[in-house]
């Protein structure tokens, strides 16, 4: 059991690739994606309707060390401020 940070990022589907590229540039050990996520936030409703994925969210889950988190937090934060989204961190234990 290792102490890790559980990072949850929710952003619009068109921006997911940007966030992932950013995370990969910081060499995170892995990530998980859930597509077709809907929701409501400051930028209104994203109900998944429409014929492109423009109105859908993606949830990105990254489990990493606190150091790694500190490294990328600022950049991800900036990105989400422009493109919209949520950036949540909680504590967890990696069993392995």
């Amino acid at each position: 059991m290792k102490k890790v940070k559980r990072v949850e990022i929710i952003t619009g589907a068109p921006h997911a690739q940007r966030v992932i590229s950013l995370l990969e540039s910081y060499e995170v050990g892995g990530y998980t994606l859930i597509h077709n996520v809907q929701g409501k936030g400051e930028r209104g409703m994203r109900d998944g309707d429409g014929l492109s994925d423009a109105f859908e969210n993606v949830m990105i889950l990254v489990v990493c060390s606190g150091d790694k988190l500190e490294a990328f937090a600022n950049d991800v934060s900036k990105l989400l401020k422009r493109f919209g989204g949520m950036f949540l961190v909680s504590d967890a234990h990696w069993v392995g």
Binding site: H15, G48, L51, R82
Partner: protein
Amino acid sequence: MNLDLILSNILSPPILFFFMGVFSKAVRSDLTIPQPIPKLLSLYLLFAIGFKGGVELSHSGISTEIFLTLLVAVVMAAVTPLYSFLYLRRRLNIYDAGAVAATYGSISAVTFITAVSFLETVGIEFGGHMVAAMALMESPAIIVGVLLIRMNLKKEDQVGEGLGGVVKEAMTNGSVVMILGSLLIGVVVSEEHVVALQPFTDDIFKGVLTLFLLDMGLLAGKRLQALKRAGWRVVLFGIWLPLLNAVIGILIGYFLGLPAGNTLLLTVLLASASYIAVPAAIRMAVPEANPGLFVPMALAVTFPFNIIIGIPLYYQIIELLESL
């Protein structure tokens, strides 16, 4: 002008199912067509229309007229955002003005396909190159719209993403690739293959279009509410800009001496607004623009206006001009 054509257009299954979709949302029915069913239907429609356009094109060959039509189409797709932006700039912020401008410069494939289906019903031919015109008109407006926004922003508001990325994005858009690819393939395959595909590309086409328009009605019905917040000036723009562009299209067709079918399709392309390619591209390039504005305008105002009243109306004017 007689209303027969408009009425007979309204009484066609695709339009009626569009109404049914809007009505379902109005009575808050839980009728939905979940993803990716609409995606399948629209892939099919792009495939079929592209392929059939290619087959037609291979029959007709490329003439000066065709080349001129394509040129005019692309130019209009790039110019429409300019005068749209000039008007919108005074009523909306820069981001929204640019997004709406791009929306109206680009096109709606389903409006085009509905017009094709209309032409088939009234028995008028059209050239396969009009499908190429449609494909070529999808992207330029996106690039122009983004450029307009950038040029009008103060230096310090300039953000991210090189223009190259936007251009690349716009050109390799899935629906553009699907239409142009199917068109090219339609051009090169031999007649026997065309016939073998006919039950799929032709016979069930109208049925699929009908089902798809039901979904469009559901979407439009849902988006209608968002419009209330936008204000009537903006809603009116969604009617008069298409009308203005339709007049331009009809005049171009008249002076180039295009056949009625081609003129109608060119007119419909100019008059229609994008709710698939543009929203996707704009959300990438200009996330500051409010999608609660440009999508409902295209989907819940301009699209219904065009398929219900616009297409038969434009057609009557074209016929009138031709008979002069």
